[in-house]
């Protein structure tokens, strides 16, 4: 302290308080502002709607409001309510009409068509027509937007031949094409998105135009996303949603989120609940729990480009070293079903193979498999020499992070050393993209069309063929399956592929998760659908929710 103190008495204190006051003043103007946006919205003018506000918790903000670009869960939940899909799923995982009414393929499989409803319109009064569908699919193809662009490799051209009919030309027969775009691709308004130089750069962050049950009207980043019911939504009973508004509120921490639900600050949590929370909340009478199956699976893949994972004995040893039932019971609290170690999971009744059987938990079998393959434990430390693997996973996934530890501990019992590399999500994605791992632990959110999806998984060049599968038998079967235009024709080859995958341990499918969601008992009429993306917050569900009597 070189400053002399005696003369400056307390002034600094006053200065600080003044500075703090300036800060406070600086924030207050933004708030009345935020409140101002709310008056006179369509929901309140909607006349007979008196359904109130449904407050839904989510752990993340919307990252991108452009439904063709954004791919986070919250992005999907919010934009799904504005940009309709042509098809949706029923509880058996089958595609059923939504915006589309009928669809089909030409005789040779080289053309396809979709008929859509004629009674939908965007909230700015423009009719939703086949033109919007053609515009959307063309933009996706031309600009390689999102995951859908990977599913429409067979499409050459799309054309709106009338207000309600779109016709497609395909370069090869693809039995999954219509289902893929029907389910995955949200239709955007061509007269809005077409104005931007490129669709990919269109932020879509204000003046939203919706053809769904709700339209976004207010965004407070970090806090809430307010959607008002639109006057005219013919897909809902009564021609519009029962609710006045849907409000997504952001609670980054799941513990806080649950407290908010229990205190009545939230009506519903959109994120699937962690198993221990499910257990806790199931005893709460004021809450309703909804359970839906995943459309994908959780699995481990063994990188066959690396020794000794190129030996099937080693992969089998790894597969038999893990107690899958324990993982389902303990880590998932029983909220998961066995996939019978098959890539055709029981969620899709039309494909599943009843004869599939899960890898038995048998450390002794693992040991003898390894010994047969010539491995030994020379130094007597209980671990086989040269059998040490790095397993990567996303630390952002609490369930996988948890069972990864179990897999490590159980494999050690079988003499196999596994070193865990829990990675931040993007590092994890880049490592998998570079195929830089020994064992990969992860999950697919949705594998809904095995006919086309299996190519991504098992073709040598497949985009998500992490394990490095390169099997001529499978290639031939995939060819047969993808050109089949009916379920019956495709089932045989698909089941054969699944059997090979299980035998060769190309993919170790561990379980199909059952997601659980919680809402307060103030509400009724949810329409739960499979997968965490649709769950209870899909447009049909939120359009039909109403206050409980």
């Amino acid at each position: 302290m070189r400053n002399s103190r005696n003369t400056r008495a307390g002034l600094r204190g006053a200065a600080i308080v003044a500075a703090a006051a300036v800060m406070m003043a600086a924030c207050t103007p933004s708030d009345p502002d935020a409140a101002d946006d709310e008056g006179g919205t369509s929901g309140e003018d909607a006349g007979d709607a008196s359904g109130g506000d449904l407050r839904i918790g989510t752990t993340a903000d919307v990252v991108n409001f452009n439904p063709l670009v954004g791919n986070s869960r919250t992005d999907t939940w919010v934009t799904n309510l504005m940009y309709p899909s042509m098809m949706t799923l029923n509880s058996d995982g089958e595609k059923v009409p939504a915006l589309a009414t009928e669809w089909g393929y030409g005789e040779d499989g080289l053309t396809a068509w979709i008929e859509i409803r004629d009674d939908l319109e965007w909230t700015d009064g423009t009719a939703l027509t086949a033109e919007d569908v053609a515009f959307t699919v063309t933009a996706v193809k031309d600009e390689s937007l999102g995951t859908v662009s990977g599913m429409i490799g067979a499409m050459e051209d799309a054309e709106a031949v009338s207000d309600t009919r779109v016709e497609f030309t395909l370069s090869r027969p693809d039995g999954a094409f219509l289902n893929s775009i029907g389910f995955w691709m949200p239709i955007v308004p061509s007269h809005v998105f077409g104005e931007a130089p490129t669709v990919a750069d269109f932020a879509n962050d204000s003046d939203w135009v919706s053809a769904g049950p709700f339209v976004l009207t207010e965004v407070d980043r970090g806090q809430r996303y307010v959607l008002d019911a639109v006057d005219n939504y013919p897909l809902a009973e009564g021609g519009q949603a029962n609710l006045d508004r849907v409000i997504y509120r952001v609670y980054p921490d799941v513990n806080t989120q649950v407290l908010a639900l229990r205190s009545g600050e939230l009506d519903l949590i959109a994120n699937a609940l962690p198993p221990s929370v499910v257990k806790e909340l199931s005893g709460d009478d004021s809450l309703e729990l909804y359970s839906v199956p995943s459309l994908g699976w959780a699995h481990m893949q063994y990188n066959m480009r690396r020794e000794p994972l190129d030996q099937v004995e080693v992969r089998r040893a790894l597969a038999h070293a893990v107690d899958y039932e324990a993982i389902r019971q303990v880590v998932l609290g029983g909220n998961a079903v066995s996939a019978n170690s098959s890539v055709l999971t029981p969620t899709f009744a039309q494909w599943a193979d009843d004869t599939a059987e899960e890898y038995a938990f048998d450390p002794d079998l693992s040991r003898s498999l390894l010994e047969d393959a010539g491995f030994e434990d020379a130094n007597g430390d209980g671990m086989y020499d040269d059998v040490s693997f790095e397993m990567i996973y996303d630390t952002g996934d609490p369930i996988i992070s948890t069972w990864a530890e179990l897999v490590r501990d159980q494999s050690a019992e079988a003499g196999i050393e596994i070193e865990l590399s829990g990675l931040e999500r993007n590092t994890y994605l880049s490592r998998t993209q570079d195929r830089d791992f020994d064992i990969y632990a992860g999950s697919w959110a949705i594998i809904d069309e095995p006919q086309s999806n299996f190519v991504l998984l098992f073709d040598e060049e497949g985009f998500i063929n992490y394990a490095g599968v390169d099997d001529p038998d499978i290639d031939a079967l995939m060819e047969e399956a993808s050109s089949a235009l009916t379920v019956e024709d495709a089932r045989g080859p698909l089941q054969e592929i699944a059997r090979i995958v299980t035998d060769e341990v190309y993919d170790n499918v561990m379980y199909v998760e059952q997601f659980t969601f919680a809402a307060t008992d103030q509400w009724t009429g949810f329409d739960p659908k499979p997968s965490e993306l649709l769950s209870v917050v899909n447009p049909q569900s939120l359009a039909s929710v109403r206050p409980a009597e």
């Binding site: 070189r2 649950v258 609940l273 221990s276 257990k279 630390t395 530890e405 865990l420 590399s421």
Partner: protein
């Protein structure tokens, strides 16, 4: 580096508290300064209790394998509260939280001491150079001031996320943003020493810079280094917990932060208090003991009230 600093955790190293919690006997005429300090320290109940607490935690860390089995696998009693069988209850996989806290002591201590050690080396190097080499003082002082005015936790988050989570990342990250504090304190302590006449005399009789540094300057700053180690380590433990809590910790070792992160991600924080309470308590005990220990040490070392600090 001219501003006064807070006391307590953020700066018990520099300012000698004006009023020792228990006043040592001012200018005892006998014994070396070290012995006098030690006598005064022992008279302060807070000091001795906190040293005992720190010693206990170190013992737990060292003898963890004798106290509890390494927590792994899973158990049948999921999220059960504290009981005779599980003193601190169990977590979402039925693993014993007492064992986790015991083993966590080890990791947390390693991170704390590792980060502190690294920060001290850097901080002492910068601080002593600043005091000793006049030409370096201004630029180094500026660097330290700049570093001190950065919001540290966001920077740590950034680096830890990009560098990938592991114990060594944590140690380096925490050290990288803790050394300026040490440098500042060490410099202010070393400054009076280098201007003392015997240091000049040492130069006159031909002592090399190095000899002077090791013979005179370093011994003079060693007391603040001791205090710095304790404080920096305890702060590093808090930082580790914060980073681990946000999911940036080492997934393959139990630390107190890792236990808390596990409780957070499994959603057990709000329903099963014991999953968060005991690791938080361990952190609290360590940091409080370290801070009180440092405060008591400073009290004991400066029998009179800051004779050199203000004028």
């Amino acid at each position: 580096m001219s501003r006064s600093r807070p006391e307590g955790m953020s700066d018990a190293t520099s300012a000698a508290p004006a009023d020792p919690m228990v006043l040592p006997d001012g200018g005892a005429p006998y014994g070396s300064p070290r012995a006098r300090t030690w006598r005064a320290f022992r008279r302060n109940p807070l000091g001795t209790v906190s040293v005992a607490m720190l010693a206990l935690l170190v013992l737990v860390a060292v003898f963890a394998p004798l106290i509890a089995d390494y927590p792994s696998g899973y158990g049948t009693e999921v999220l059960s509260g504290p009981s005779a069988q599980h003193w601190f209850g169990t977590d979402n996989l039925g693993r014993d939280i007492f064992a986790q806290v015991v083993w966590g002591t080890r990791t947390s201590m390693v991170v704390g001491l590792g980060a502190a050690g690294l920060a001290i080396v850097l901080g002492v190097a910068v601080g002593v150079s600043g005091a000793y080499f006049k030409r370096l003082d201004t630029p180094l002082g500026m660097l330290v001031d700049l570093m001190l005015s950065l919001p540290v936790l966001p920077l740590m988050i950034l680096v830890a996320a990009l560098a990938g989570p592991s114990v060594s990342t944590l140690v380096v990250v925490i050290a990288a943003f803790s050394w300026p504090e040490v440098a500042r304190v060490v410099r202010s302590q070393a400054m009076p020493v280098v201007t003392l006449s015997y240091v000049d005399a040492a130069h006159v009789i031909g002592g090399s810079n190095r000899w002077v540094l090791f013979r005179h300057v370093l011994p003079a700053v060693s007391p603040v280094i001791t205090v710095s180690v304790v404080l920096t380590a305890s702060r590093a433990v808090l930082s580790e917990a914060g980073l681990s809590f946000l999911g940036l910790g080492d997934p393959s070792s139990w630390s107190w932060g890792a236990i808390l992160h596990n409780a957070q991600r499994s959603g057990a924080l709000s329903s099963s208090w014991w999953t968060a309470f005991f690791p938080s308590l361990a952190i609290l005990l360590l940091v409080v003991a370290a801070t009180l220990c440092a405060l008591a040490y400073n009290d004991a070392r400066n029998p009179r009230t800051r004779q050199d600090d203000h004028r």
